[in-house]
């Protein structure tokens, strides 16, 4: 069964971080079991992991679930479709989630985004798959509109 990725997990780094968190969680669960304190102090989860376990209805407290999840995450990492997207500034989480939502809905649910910063873009974004680069920047838009701009300048 494939893992469903929540919108809060948008990048490859998010999956790697969740992996580390699950691993840490597993260690803590073991420690709590040894100390008999599991019910007294619940381990706090990150938003990504919380959404992941809720979306996939996973109980991390069950035995071997953490290890299974880590393996599934490793498998997912191998299966994901990785897109790179560059912006002029660091996008907010909200923007990231909206973008990943669009990609997963319109293109493929396994898509992850690597976010980069490229100040020369100024306005817009540049999307790079492993086959093509799509320039959605203002510069490209102006270059595409050069003939119209020249016509406008000449008053034609």
């Amino acid at each position: 069964m494939e893992l469903k990725m929540p919108m809060t997990i948008a990048t490859k780094q998010d999956i790697l971080r969740i992996q580390r968190e699950v691993r840490d969680y597993d260690v803590l669960v073991v420690q709590n079991n040894v100390r008999k304190t599991a019910t007294q102090s619940p381990i706090p989860l990150s938003a990504g992991l919380k959404d992941l376990v809720q979306l996939n209805q996973i109980n991390l407290n069950e035995k071997n679930v953490s290890k299974k999840l880590i393996k599934q995450l490793e498998k997912t990492l191998k299966q994901v479709i990785l897109f790179h997207m560059s912006f002029a500034t660091e996008p907010s989480d909200d923007v990231n989630q909206k973008l990943i939502a669009w990609f997963r809905k319109e293109v493929d649910p396994k898509i992850l985004l690597n976010i980069g910063i490229q100040p020369t873009i100024s306005v817009g974004a540049v999307l790079r798959t492993n086959r093509t680069q799509y320039d959605f920047s203002l510069r490209k838009h102006l270059q595409n509109s050069q003939k119209d701009l020249v016509k406008a300048l000449r008053g034609e």
Binding site: I81, V95, V107, R139
Partner: protein, 207 residues
């Protein structure tokens, strides 16, 4: 003409003076012993008589008369000579004046012609120079206009060629970091929608 008259007068006077001197000049006495013949005696007698007629006082009288006549002739001739000289001088002055005027007139005419010619040549030269300058000025003007038009066109072409970058640069300067990515999402999604088919194709082909 006057000079001929003066010379003639002087010649006449010289001839008269020569005759008088010949007549009045004393002759040497001949020796009686050597004249033995009657002819010679006659001659001697004649000479004696003539000597009696032409005695010293008579000779002195003739000499005085000759001197007076000579002085009169000389005085008259000097007067004529003076008049002729004055007339000649006057004519000579007139002649010289006329000649000098003629020569000066000719020289001035030549000089004027030369000046006129030089002026014409100078004017012609100035005119040609002016024409050359005008021609060069026109060429230079045309050349500068062409270069200006060429430069203008080159600037326009470069501006049009790099217009996207220039506008992008100015927009970037103008907005700086003012535009939030959230405001750009609509444009980004619109671009994604426009390229959705190509992106799907990429994924299908192993993105």
């Amino acid at each position: 003409m006057n000079s001929y008259l003066v010379a003639f007068g002087i010649g006449i006077s010289a001839a008269i003076l020569s005759i008088l001197l010949y007549l009045l000049w004393p002759r040497p006495k001949k020796n009686k012993a050597t004249s033995a013949s009657p002819d010679i005696d006659l001659a001697a007698i004649a000479e004696k008589k003539s000597m009696e007629v032409f005695n010293d006082s008579f000779r002195e009288e003739l000499r005085n008369r000759g001197r007076l006549h000579f002085e009169k002739v000389i005085s008259e001739n000097a007067l004529f000579l003076q008049q002729d000289l004055r007339l000649t001088t006057s004519e000579l002055n007139t002649f010289m004046k006329d000649e000098i005027q003629k020569v000066l007139k000719d020289e001035f005419s030549k000089y004027e012609a030369s000046i006129t010619s030089a002026r014409d040549i100078a004017l012609e030269s100035i005119k040609k120079t002016q024409e050359v300058i005008d021609q060069q000025r026109t060429q230079l003007e045309q050349q500068m206009n062409d270069q200006a038009a060429e430069e203008k066109q080159r600037l326009i072409d470069r501006f049009e060629k790099n217009m996207a970058d220039i506008l992008n640069h100015y927009i970037l300067d103008a907005i700086g970091g003012e535009i939030d990515l959230t405001d750009q999402l609509e444009y980004i999604f619109q671009s994604l929608e426009e390229n959705k088919k190509a992106i799907l194709e990429d994924v299908k082909n192993g993105a």
